[in-house]
Amino acid sequence: MINLSFPFTEEKIRALNVRDEVALSGVVFTGRDAVHKYLHEGGRLPPGVSLRDGILYHCGPVVLKDEQGDWKVTAAGPTTSIREEPYQAQIIKDFGIRGVIGKGGMGDRTLAACKEFGCAYLHAVGGAAQVLAECIRKVRAVYFLEKFGSPEAIWELEVEDFPAVVTMDSKGHSLHREIFATSQAELAKHL
């Protein structure tokens, strides 16, 4: 297990390899379908918000307000990342993102952007909403709540020891591509 803590420098990210298990600590920003489409179409982040050297988490959490009126994340696993493939490479480039957390992996354009700009794809366990919500220590802020609705908003979260596996590194390796090729070859033997 590799401890990956803030600040998420290019050097730390470029040292990661496919199959590395990481425990992530620091700030992450959620962003999914609506946010990707919006940013890709030239939409701006709210004033004072920067994703530079940041981590983007493909996640639509369940968030409730507690008795004190504070936000509390009660479920927060990753959503399927491949839907953001048309937008991700450009967003990595434009906003200087160092890590993308999601599930299911992404395609060749994102892989190329990871290599060119120094980013890694970190695969969290899909469906593990409770284990992952426990790693969220604090909701720092929420943006676009009205505009996009709760699951699609940008939630700024403080996480500690958030478990993920590097499945696409900045060296051009993709575990997803590898497993697809080996499973396809194996299937051919069974037909």
Binding site: R19, E21, A34, C59, G60, P61, V62, L64, T74, A75, A76, G77, T79, T80, I82, K103, G104, G105, H123, V125, G126, G127, A128, A129, Q130, V131, A133, E134, G149, S150, P151, E152, P163, V165, T167, L175, H176, I179, F180, T182, S183, Q184, E186, L187, H190, L191
Partner: protein, 292 residues
């Protein structure tokens, strides 16, 4: 009226937070099978911990609380519209309580009104039965696994799949290959051979009401189920597509009649977070027992 609403809220709470015993057992078995020290084993351990934590905290197993699918066996003469109204209120309350995510979006405007109630949500499948009891089964099916479902029209030249059981096998295995880990594997397949496009998918989803260890009473389908399960697990896709020994936990297949011109194989994929529970209700709408 209120008893029915309370019962349905409790059904939603438990379905969202608690994995049925048969699914949990299948997950524990697959954790045993995975090679120690691999990322597949790590993933299965996180899944196991997640199942325990969700139950303990009474919170959603997965944040995608999914499509809300009610399967209702009702006595002759039950007022189905009143049942639907009450169930919609139960869904709204369960959403406020955080058992369900605000998960239903207007497809034209993109607006999520936060209630989970709207055209097509929740979905009801009513069947009459000659009994005073009402059986209500609930399946919550997330979008990640829904998106990897597939429908094949046979013959399929690319797959060399003809209109026979071997052609069905090729189509189903292709769906497993294409899905990889994106449907949050290890998953469960519900398959329907035949039907039109809509009923094919509907019957494929109905397979998720079956228990994982059950066996198909139709010998050809039983053989196909066992074959697909074994073959899929030989592909090495593994939990989450990380590579490993468990790609699927179960395969459930049914066959219904088709038109001479059509031959569909409809495949629904259920993620490991297989949320399916059910209750028997008495005449007042109180929970008389739990199914599964």
């Amino acid at each position: 009226m209120n008893a029915l609403q309370d019962s349905l809220i409790e059904l939603i709470r438990r379905t969202s937070a608690e994995i049925p015993d048969d699914v949990r057992q299948a997950i524990l078995d697959s954790l045993e099978r995975e090679k120690k020290g691999t990322i597949a084993e790590s993933a299965m351990k996180i899944i196991e911990r997640n199942i325990a934590l969700a139950k303990q905290k009474s919170q959603p197993i997965c944040q995608d609380t999914g499509s809300i699918l009610f399967y209702v066996d009702s006595p002759v003469g039950m007022d189905q519209m009143r049942f639907e109204d009450t169930a919609c209120l139960a869904v709204k309350k369960a959403t406020k309580l955080g058992y369900l995510r605000q998960n239903s979006v207007d497809s034209l405007t993109g607006i999520n009104d936060g209630t989970n109630v709207g055209p097509g949500s929740p979905t009801f499948h009513f069947h009459q039965q000659r009994s005073d009891r009402i059986n209500v089964r609930l399946v919550l099916k997330g979008g990640g696994c829904e998106n990897v479902g597939a429908q094949y029209s046979l013959p399929n030249e690319k797959l060399k799949a003809n209109r026979d059981l071997d052609g069905c096998r090729k189509a189903i295995l292709d769906a497993v290959l294409q899905a990889q880990g994106r449907g949050c594997g290890p998953g469960i397949l519900g398959v329907c051979i035949g039907g039109d496009r809509a009923t094919g998918y509907e019957f494929s989803k109905r397979q998720f009401l079956r228990l994982i260890p059950d066996r198909n009473p139709v010998p050809e389908l039983d053989t196909l189920e066992q074959d697909i399960l074994k073959t899929a697990n030989d592909l090495g896709i593994g939990p989450m597509g990380f590579g490993g020994r468990t790609t699927l936990l179960g395969v459930k297949i049914c066959a219904i009649n088709r038109l001479p011109a059509s031959f569909f194989v409809s495949i629904s994929y259920m993620c490991w977070a297989y949320r399916r529970l059910g209750v028997t209700l008495d005449a007042e709408g109180k929970i008389a027992g739990w199914l599964y």
